[in-house]
Structures are given as structure tokens and as C-alpha cells.
């Protein structure tokens, strides 16, 4: 369905001598199959949102290919993209910032329909009601403004807007992270129902790791613009091969007081580095417990270590997962 090959997105910051290159996404490759949900996880600053926005062609990629049903859309001009945009829609993170406060709900939802001149008059109205119904909103909501809605309802409006053009792929950029726990489940269930009904393909970007496992078929883990590991979601959570994935997963607080993750947590020292002028070698090397000298010089390639389980680490096969962490007391 969607194949990403060596996608890069660099931003230029500063001018003249202060000019720097920020490598937000630095050569990631993965593919998404039709009807599946591909989860993209990582800490803030790892480039997952930039990746999502670049794939939806809201950014122009610096390099690489985005094959949509075999056609490369990475270098297309806006005019050429017109016929692809409806098939590739996006749901945004912040339901407060992504809806124009001066437009009514029906105009927000129908903006794409109007742009592509798909329907007019009664047909347009019928389509709006149909979409509102699909996302669990009422017909009378159509003439209201976004400020009259709660966060969960606004996210529903955003989803209705994404559905308006009968898309095939939806990039969901942290669609639930701004919502309360009890509302998150409502939205996740709805996304799953819509996926079944319309045979949608999702690229689901999130940092809530337990929700990602729930919704995704396969997951990619990013760190500083690079893909660290790609695997089926159960394989990834049960047998993470990359040292970064291992410590990331062991940091999830578990909602089970008898099984405190704390005791065998692989605590990650330090913080995520800067994507500006990154050092050669593995991006994770400076925080990795297993790092050897060549990790700092040679950048590892993503390789298939087990069937359908890709990892980019020189020594992944030698690592023993879930080593008990040593007792450590603050000075």
C-alpha cells in the first residue's frame, strides 16, 4: 500500500555562519500493508511527527521515496499531488489547534468536499450528516462552532474531516494524547470500527506505548530520526531486540501494583541527544549500555534478524533481554 524508502527530512536553522542542519528524519524505510495499522513510537524529538507529516506530504521530503500504491509521491508538485491528497488524510494531535474557530462544524468537515467540488447543496448536507453520524455526533452539531465542544468531541470532528474524501490511508498523529483516559478508549474503539468499515490503513503515531500495542499490527521504534526496530506488535513487546526498545518498554508504568516494573527496569541514563549535526555511528550509542567502540563510528543498518523483525544494532543477537539492573542509590 505504502512504501517508504530512505525518507529524509532536514530542516535548516539559522543563517550564515550559524547555519545548521537539523536532521529530523534521517533515512527511514518501512512499508505499510493495506488495511493494517502501523504504529510509530519514540520519545519527543525523535522525528515521528515529522515523518508522519512528510509522508502525508505536508512537508517536502529532502530525499527518499514515498511509494503510494507503487507511485512515488515524494517529488510530486502540488498540482500532481491533487489527485493523491484525498486518498491520504491526516488526523492531528491537538484538537484545540487543528480546527478553525471561525468555521462551523459543517464547513470544517466539508472543506475537502468543497475544494474537490464533490458535492453541492443537499447532497453535501447529506454527506455531512452521514459523517457526523459515523463519528458519533448529532445532526444539530453541524451548525455549531468548535469552542462549543469538548476535547473528545473535537477529535471526532477532526476524524469526520479526514473521512470526508473517502481516504485509503490516514496518518493519525497522536490522536488521543490530549484526551482523558475514559475518552481515549471511546476514540480508539471508533478508529477501529471505522478501519473495519472502510478498510482503512492507519499510520498511528503515539507515545502512549500501551495504547500503541493495542491498536497496531506492526510497530516501528524511532530514535533521533532513525528507525531502531520494526516488528509485529506482540513480538516487539515480548522480545524487544534493540537495547533502546528494551529500556523504553521497561519504562512503561504498569497498572498492576503487584507487578512493579520498577524492580527490573532498565533505567536509561541521560536524555535524548540533539538532532543538529548528529555524530557518526549509532544514534543511541551514547546512552547504550552495550555500546562498543565501533558503535560510535559505524552506523548500523536495519536488518532482518528474525522473520519480519528488523533491528538496527550491530550486536542485537548477542544481547540478553531484561537483565536485572544493578542496585543504584543516588549520592
Amino acid at each position: 500500500m505504502l512504501e517508504i524508502k530512505n525518507l529524509k527530512k532536514h530542516f535548516i536553522t539559522g543563517h550564515g555562519k550559524g547555519r545548521k542542519v537539523l536532521t529530523a528524519v534521517d533515512g527511514i524505510s518501512f512499508s505499510i500493508r493495506k488495511g493494517e495499522t502501523f504504529g510509530l513510537v519514540g520519545e519527543s524529538g525523535c522525528g515521528k511527527t515529522t515523518a508522519g507529516r512528510t509522508i502525508a506530504r505536508l512537508y517536502n521530503p529532502t530525499d527518499g521515496q514515498i511509494l503510494f500504491e507503487g507511485v512515488d509521491i515524494a517529488k510530486m508538485t502540488d498540482r500532481e499531488l491533487r489527485s493523491y491528497r484525498p486518498k491520504l488524510q491526516m488526523i492531528f494531535q491537538d484538537p484545540y489547534a487543528s480546527l478553525n474557530p471561525r468555521m462551523t462544524v459543517q464547513d470544517i468537515i466539508a472543506e475537502g468536499i468543497d475544494t474537490y467540488k464533490l458535492a453541492k447543496g443537499e447532497e453535501r448536507q447529506e454527506r455531512i450528516y452521514q459523517l457526523l453520524d459515523k463519528v458519533g455526533l448529532k445532526r444539530e452539531h453541524a451548525t455549531r462552532y468548535p469552542h462549543e465542544f469538548s476535547g473528545g468531541q473535537r477529535q471526532r470532528i477532526g476524524i469526520a474531516r479526514a473521512l470526508a474524501l473517502n481516504p485509503e490511508v490516514i496518518v493519525c498523529d497522536e490522536p488521543i494524547s490530549a484526551l482523558d483516559v475514559s475518552i481515549q478508549a471511546q476514540v480508539v474503539n471508533m478508529l477501529e470500527d471505522l478501519q473495519k468499515e472502510f478498510n482503512l490503513t492507519y499510520l498511528f503515531i503515539a507515545h502512549d506505548l500501551s495504547m500503541v500495542r493495542h491498536i497496531s499490527d506492526r510497530i516501528g521504534v524511532m530514535y533521533l530520526g532513525k528507525m531502531m526496530e520494526i516488528a509485529g506488535s506482540d513480538d516487539l513487546y515480548e522480545e524487544p531486540l534493540h537495547p533502546y526498545t528494551q529500556s523504553l518498554l521497561s519504562s512503561i508504568p504498569l497498572a498492576n501494583p503487584r507487578q512493579k516494573n520498577f524492580l527490573n527496569r532498565i533505567m536509561l541514563e541521560g536524555e535524548i541527544g540533539s538532532p543538529i549535526n548528529p555524530k557518526p555511528g549509532c544514534r543511541f550509542a551514547s546512552r547504550c549500555r552495550y555500546a562498543k567502540p565501533d558503535c560510535f563510528t559505524v552506523s548500523p543498518e536495519l536488518r532482518e534478524l528474525r522473520p519480519d523483525h528488523f533491528v538496527s544494532c550491530h550486536y542485537a543477537e548477542n544481547l540478553v533481554p531484561n537483565v536485572k539492573k544493578e542496585e543504584k542509590i543516588q549520592p
Partner: protein, 356 residues
């Protein structure tokens, strides 16, 4: 400032505690008087805090958890104020204290770690200046001694190169490091009670793990008592010993942490636990969400605030809020299902109304 203090009675001298009871909150009500009407953010919250506990207060946005903390700290701003009930710290009644008296208490006896490390530090002062302000207010240390103490505190919360960092400004620190600075500030005078309001919400999960471990270590080291406010049930289960579940300005359930997760006795707690995915290999079970939306506190529903969303609503739920029924000696829940007159629902035990 120092001169003023000479005329002021030192209220901290005469604090006495009854056994291990540190803080007793009784029918606390906090109301915001806005032009749109009264917002009753906290509508009668009662709980005890005992020495050495890590009490978790969980709830969604608008449940009143942060306002409860602000009320304890005496930091509720206009147009809000504590409109009823009492907060007893030992033999001191905090709701009756003057601002100048609260100032002696804040930071020294009870201190707070705020939610957003990006906005709760002053951008125009160095980290050292901000730390020293707290130290100089509450101790008799000299400036140079306070500087040493500031460095020592930064080292204690795990900030590398504290001698250098103490002279830097907040923008030179990352989110996780700023939260460490906030914690250093909060523990600078060895407070007896530490209130942490969503200390890890703005942070990544690996940094969250570091901060939670730090709070736990400091709690043991400084022998203090912690109130942790969060919306994340995972965080609660990792570090808390006791939990209050709040909804619509009321405590819905109060329990020992293990009992809460294994034997939830309020439909709201149950709903929360079911809306989090249980991840096992294979076919994923569908999440069971709580239908509807949280109440509007300008017009709170009469009776139990959860009744419009509750799968077990009865006639009485809409008329009268349920009292706390005692399930066992460490567990109570505010739900009419526990009344001996209520119909039996599997999973919910019937009980008598327990005394506070």
C-alpha cells in the same frame, strides 16, 4: 523581610501531631466565583494522610485533584477560595491561617512540585538564585552557605556538574532537568509533606521513570510523606501506597493500592481500569470505554456526579450523592450499590456506611 519576622509569632514552634496523622482534610470545599456562576471545583473532600504514605490522587481533568492540592497549599487564587471544611496539619488549621503565616509553612513544612516544568521556573533568574530564595527564606544560612546548599541539592537530584549548572538559566535545561530543579527546590528545606502535581505529565516515558524513581528515593531519604496527583493509573500502581479516586469534585473511592486494582468497588474506578488496554499476545480485546463526558461543574448533576455515565444508575443516585461506604478497614467507596438496600450486582459488596 527578616525584620518583619521578629514581630511575628513563630507558628511552626507549636505544631503537634497526633500519632502518625500528618494531614486531615475534612469536607473541603473550594469554589470559584466566576462571572458565569459558581464553579464548585471541590465539593466536600475528606481524607487522612499518615506519615510515610505516598498517597495518589487520580482523576481526569476537571475532577478537582489539582484544586485540592492548591487548597492545601493555600494557593487558590481569585476568584476562587476555600468555601467550607477544614484542613488540619497537626494541630494547625490551615484554612484559618493568614497569608504571612502560610508563608512560614510553605516550602518548610509542606511544599509542592508543579505540573509544568517549562513555566514554573522564572526565566530571568538563574537556577541558583531561585533555589537560594527558598533556602534564605526558611533558614538562617548566609548567602555563601546557601550557594553551597544549592549545589548540594542539585547533586542530590542527579544533575551533572552542579557547580556549573547552578549559574545557568532555566532555558539551558531540558524538560526532565527542569523538573529535577523543581524537585530540588521543593525538598530544599526537608518538608514533611511533598505534594507533586502531575510531575511527569509533560515528560517522556524514560524520563518519567527517572523522575518517579527520584521522588521515591528522596521520600525515603528525607523521611517525608508524599501526595502524588496524576491521571495515569500506571504511575499510581508503580509508586503509591494509597489512592483516592476523584470525579466531579468528590472522592469516589479511597483504598490501599493493591485492593483498588484487584477489587475496585466503584463503577467509575472500574470503568477507568477497563478503558486501559490489557496487552496480551493474540487477538486484542475491545476496550470498554466509559460513555458520555465528565460533568460540567458550573451545573454539576444532582446526586452522584458519575450517575449520568454509570451503567448501574438507580433512582437514588440522581437525588443524593452516596456517602462513603466502608468495604474493609483500608477501603471505602462512595456508591449506593454498597447500601444493604441496593440490588446485588456481581463484584460489588454490600456494606454499612463507615465512620470517617
Amino acid at each position: 523581610m527578616k525584620k518583619m519576622r521578629l514581630f511575628q509569632e513563630d507558628i511552626l514552634k507549636n505544631i503537634q501531631f497526633e500519632d502518625d496523622l500528618i494531614l486531615k482534610v475534612d469536607h473541603l470545599q473550594t469554589t470559584f466565583y466566576t462571572h458565569m456562576g459558581q464553579v464548585k471545583a471541590v465539593r466536600g473532600v475528606s481524607f487522612d494522610l499518615r506519615k510515610g504514605e505516598i498517597l495518589g490522587i487520580v482523576g481526569e481533568s476537571g475532577s478537582g485533584k489539582s484544586v485540592t492540592a492548591m487548597s492545601i497549599m493555600g494557593l487558590v487564587d481569585e476568584p476562587g477560595r476555600v468555601s467550607g471544611g477544614s484542613i488540619r496539619y497537626g494541630n494547625l488549621e490551615l484554612t484559618k491561617l493568614k497569608d504571612s503565616e502560610m508563608n512560614q509553612l510553605r516550602g518548610k513544612e509542606i511544599s509542592m512540585i508543579f505540573q509544568d516544568p517549562m513555566t514554573s521556573l522564572n526565566p530571568v533568574f538563574t537556577i541558583g538564585q531561585q533555589l537560594k530564595e527558598v533556602i534564605l527564606t526558611h533558614t538562617s544560612l548566609t548567602g555563601a552557605e546557601a550557594h553551597e546548599r544549592a549545589i548540594q541539592l542539585l547533586r542530590m537530584v542527579g544533575i551533572p556538574e552542579p557547580e556549573l549548572r547552578v549559574r545557568q538559566y532555566p532555558h539551558q535545561f531540558s524538560g526532565g532537568m527542569r523538573q529535577r530543579v523543581m524537585i530540588a527546590m521543593a525538598v530544599s528545606c526537608n518538608p514533611k509533606v511533598l505534594i507533586a502535581d502531575e510531575p511527569t505529565t509533560a515528560l517522556d516515558v524514560t524520563i518519567q521513570a527517572q523522575i518517579l524513581e527520584l521522588i521515591q528515593n528522596l521520600k525515603t531519604k528525607l523521611d517525608s510523606t508524599v501526595i502524588l496527583i496524576t491521571h495515569d493509573l500506571g504511575v499510581v500502581s508503580e509508586i503509591c501506597t494509597k489512592v483516592n479516586v476523584m470525579y466531579g469534585g468528590l472522592v469516589m473511592e479511597s483504598s490501599d493500592v493493591i485492593d483498588l486494582f484487584e477489587n475496585p468497588q466503584h463503577p467509575y474506578t472500574n470503568g477507568l481500569l477497563q478503558s486501559v488496554p490489557i496487552n496480551v499476545r493474540g487477538e486484542k480485546a475491545r476496550l470498554i470505554p466509559i460513555d458520555g463526558t465528565p460533568p460540567d461543574l458550573l451545573k454539576p448533576p444532582s446526586g452522584c456526579p458519575f450517575s449520568p455515565r454509570c451503567p448501574h444508575t438507580m433512582g437514588i443516585c440522581q437525588k443524593e450523592a452516596a456517602p462513603l461506604f466502608r468495604i474493609n478497614d483500608r477501603h471505602c467507596a462512595a456508591c449506593w450499590l454498597h447500601s444493604p438496600e441496593a440490588p446485588q450486582v456481581p463484584g460489588y459488596v454490600q456494606s454499612k456506611v463507615g465512620e470517617e
